[in-house]
């Protein structure tokens, strides 16, 4: 099941189709990767605008700008757009672009299905977004869709549910494609234990996706039938149980958060060695740690439900199991640090974002550990503490690493260098404002401010105001990234070399290709496999 040699089929032309049809009909992994990345960047700003609406309302106590119902639909839609529209698709976009280049394959294994997964994503998000304009407003029960509250949604409910189905189909097809590509399309000599970690983490993420997206689809299907077809899955009167929903949801939900973080780990493990000019420390332990985290992610879900009422044995089991996750995660953080140790480091923008990731993700991980302690979680649950926790793992981790990936590979994709000065400005603005934005939320949460509320008691005013100021600085400084991307596509600060970064071609196959990468690459497999990352 390993080596594949490829050549293009003579019956087909080699360049892309003309005009809009190029994008509708393309089966090229680079085109599809680009579509995913552009789409997710747009969604990042859509979701971000919703976050700024929330933060504007929370700037001061009292009701200022929006109705409570709309506020709630903003928190819900913000989360859904960010998770399913921005972060997940961005990593699928990177997978599309980079996995074939990293393993020396001519394309993804199932190119037509690849096209379909992208358009299913667009369809799902369109359906989801359309609910904002419906009678009764968008879904407003939180991104977790808990019944019975969610069953009170207006006309939006069936649309939101079918949107989840479409997004699920998209993710599953994308994941199947990634697995088939990695198992079946590696160049000769690219053994499993020589694959770059980005490829490894995506392989494991793809398994998680296939295992849990259908479970989420099942859960929302039960919501649909409870609302429209008289079933009683989540209704105690008929012998069902609303807590059942939470179990099914979080069986999906916990692996879902790893779906967003494992590829993050992979990109960080790819970038850090290049700028530390050292091999990655502990390659094998990184692979095993990723697998172990993925395994644990299936057996810890009810740590989201400590306050719902569970038998005490359940509380204890989920508490201890959750704490175990700190071990493989600690291995990873140790390895990144050790990779940098005594390295000849330089601090270009991708490296800056990666270092910030290591530090700030560790912080988010620690608060996670705090909440794993069931008795003290009774205090933190459903407060701003949890909001601070998961945003530390999502924004300065996943989003920062996505930005790092953008800076890291843009020169390879476009053939031009980005503007390093503006890049660093973008980094410093982001790194400082993100802490102004989210750090005070820890205090708010510990002091008892609940999440998902449009108004709050006056004693929370100061930190909320500071947090909102941070949010606006962070939000607007992201426009710099858009500027840099457009500027780089148009020429940037000059042509990039093939290697782009010093000695990068020792670290990964993608750097042995010309910059910009030709439309078709590795139509014949590479002669030599770089092993510096091992």
């Amino acid at each position: 099941m390993s080596a594949v040699i490829a050549e293009h089929d003579e019956h087909h032309d080699h360049g892309p189709a003309k005009g809009i049809l190029r994008w509708i009909t393309t089966t090229n992994h680079k085109d599809i990767g680009t579509m995913y990345l552009v789409f997710s960047l747009i969604m990042f700003f859509v979701g971000g605008s919703m976050a700024l609406i929330i933060r504007a309302e929370l700037f001061e106590p009292g009701m200022q700008f929006v109705e409570p119902q709309f506020f709630n639909s903003m928190t819900t839609m913000h989360a859904l757009v960010m998770v399913f529209g921005a972060v997940m698709p961005a990593f699928v976009g990177l997978a599309n672009w980079m996995i074939p280049l990293m393993i020396g394959a001519p394309d993804m294994a199932l190119p037509r299905m690849n096209n379909m997964s992208f358009w299913m994503l667009v369809a799902g998000i369109l359906l989801m977004a359309s609910t904002l304009f419906m009678e009764g407003g968008g879904p407003a029960a939180g991104w977790t869709f808990y019944p019975p509250l969610v069953l009170q949604t207006g006309k939006a409910l069936p649309f939101a549910i079918f949107a989840v189905h479409l997004l699920g189909i998209s993710s599953i097809m994308g994941a199947i494609n990634i697995i088939a590509t990695i198992f079946n399309m590696r160049a000769p000599g690219m053994d499993m234990m020589k694959m770059p970690l980005f490829v490894w983490t995506w392989l494991i993420t793809a398994f998680l996706l296939i295992a849990v997206m259908p479970v989420f689809a099942g859960a929302v299907t039960m919501l649909l039938t409870d609302r429209f077809f008289d079933t009683s899955f989540f209704d105690a009167a008929g012998g069902g149980d609303p807590v059942l929903y939470q179990h099914i949801f979080w069986f999906f939900g916990h692996p879902e958060v790893y779906i967003m973080i494992l590829p993050t780990f992979g990109v960080a493990s790819t970038i850090i060695p290049v700028f530390a000019r050292k091999p990655l420390f502990g390659y094998t332990s990184m692979v095993w740690a990723t697998g172990f985290i993925a395994f644990l992610s299936f057996i810890v879900w009810a740590h989201h439900m400590f306050t719902v009422g569970m038998p005490i044995a359940g509380e204890l089991y989920f508490m201890y199991a959750t704490m175990l996750i700190a071990i493989p995660t600690g291995v990873k953080i140790f390895n990144w640090t050790a990779t940098m140790w005594k390295g000849a480091m330089t601090f270009e923008t991708p490296m800056l974002f990666s270092i910030a990731f290591v530090v700030l993700f560790t912080l988010g991980g620690f608060t996670g550990l705090m909440m794993a302690v069931a008795p003290s979680d009774l205090q933190y649950h459903d407060t701003y503490f949890i909001v601070a926790h998961f945003h530390y793992t999502l924004v300065p981790a996943s989003v920062f690493i996505l930005m790092a990936a953008g800076y890291f590979w843009l020169p390879k994709w476009t053939g031009n260098m980005y503007n390093e000065r503006i890049g660093r400005l973008h980094f410093w603005l982001s790194a400082i404002s993100i802490n102004i934005l989210f750090f005070p939320q820890h205090f708010l949460g510990l002091a008892g401010m609940p999440r998902r509320i449009p108004d709050y008691a006056v004693q929370f005013a100061d930190w909320n105001m500071i947090s909102s100021i941070g949010a606006f600085i962070y939000g607007f400084s992201q426009l710099l990234f858009v500027y840099i991307v457009i500027d780089t596509i148009r020429g940037g600060t000059g042509k990039a070399t093939d290697e782009v970064w010093e000695d990068a071609s020792k670290h990964g196959l993608e750097w042995t290709l010309p910059s910009p990468t030709p439309y078709h690459t590795f139509t014949t497999p590479p002669a030599k496999i770089p092993t510096e990352h091992l």
Partner: protein, 289 residues
Amino acid sequence: MSTNDTYYVPHKAVWPFIGTAGLMMMLAGFANYLNGSAIGPTMMIFGLSLFILMLTGWFALQASESESGMYNHSVGISYRMGMMWFIFSEVMFFAAFFGALWYTRNLSVPWLGGIGDGPARATKDLLWPAFEAAWPTNGPAEVGGEFEPMGAFGLPLLNTLILLTSGVTVTWAHHGLLAKKRDQLIKGLIATVALGFLFVGLQAFEYYEAYHEMGLTLGSGIYGSTFFMLTGFHGFHVCVGAIMLSVILFRSWKGHFTPENHFGFEGVAWYWHFVDVVWLGLFIFVYLL
């Protein structure tokens, strides 16, 4: 490089986009229908037509490419992996419903009846102190009124035998294909398709009886919910499988497939076995126990 070493990378395809548009239209139409909007059914029919157009067009394209020898061994491996992991995703979809059945039967219904220290105990004390845990149940409020649970012996047992036999016939057809006995291949497939549709027919009859004679409906509390959703999704999968088998039968009759190259056949056969295994789970956990 010999042709056997080339990986076929298709360069353009319009079917994925059409299929997506069709599916989206169908689902949006269904959502509109559920919301009581008159445009719903029209949208659904339009979406479904687009979707069927896509299926026909895309599969015809794949079949003709396959027959003209564009797919080599590695392409076949990719397809097989694709099918394998697709089936795994289906397993997980059913797992959600089996999980719901397990959780309600073994945990939440007993809690509602006052057994153990689960969260639903409080519900009992406050709302339904008289409720006694039992299975099957339509809950403490006896949602949907009195009903008779579905027995295991009779139609369900017959259906089990039918599906198991169809698993044998499809394997027999596969042996025919491998041994280049086209006659055996076609006969085996005809038998499998016939058994598949027979199963669906009997299942429909069972539903009819449940609704008209036993008072058992989707609305019969948690028992009705789990019974109909599990068997319903399974029945839908049998329909899809039987339709796919019919396509394979048609292709075999046209002379497609060789002992070396017959992914289409294999993929559908795997799917059929998967449907079979899910049924065994259903027979045990839904009907027998």
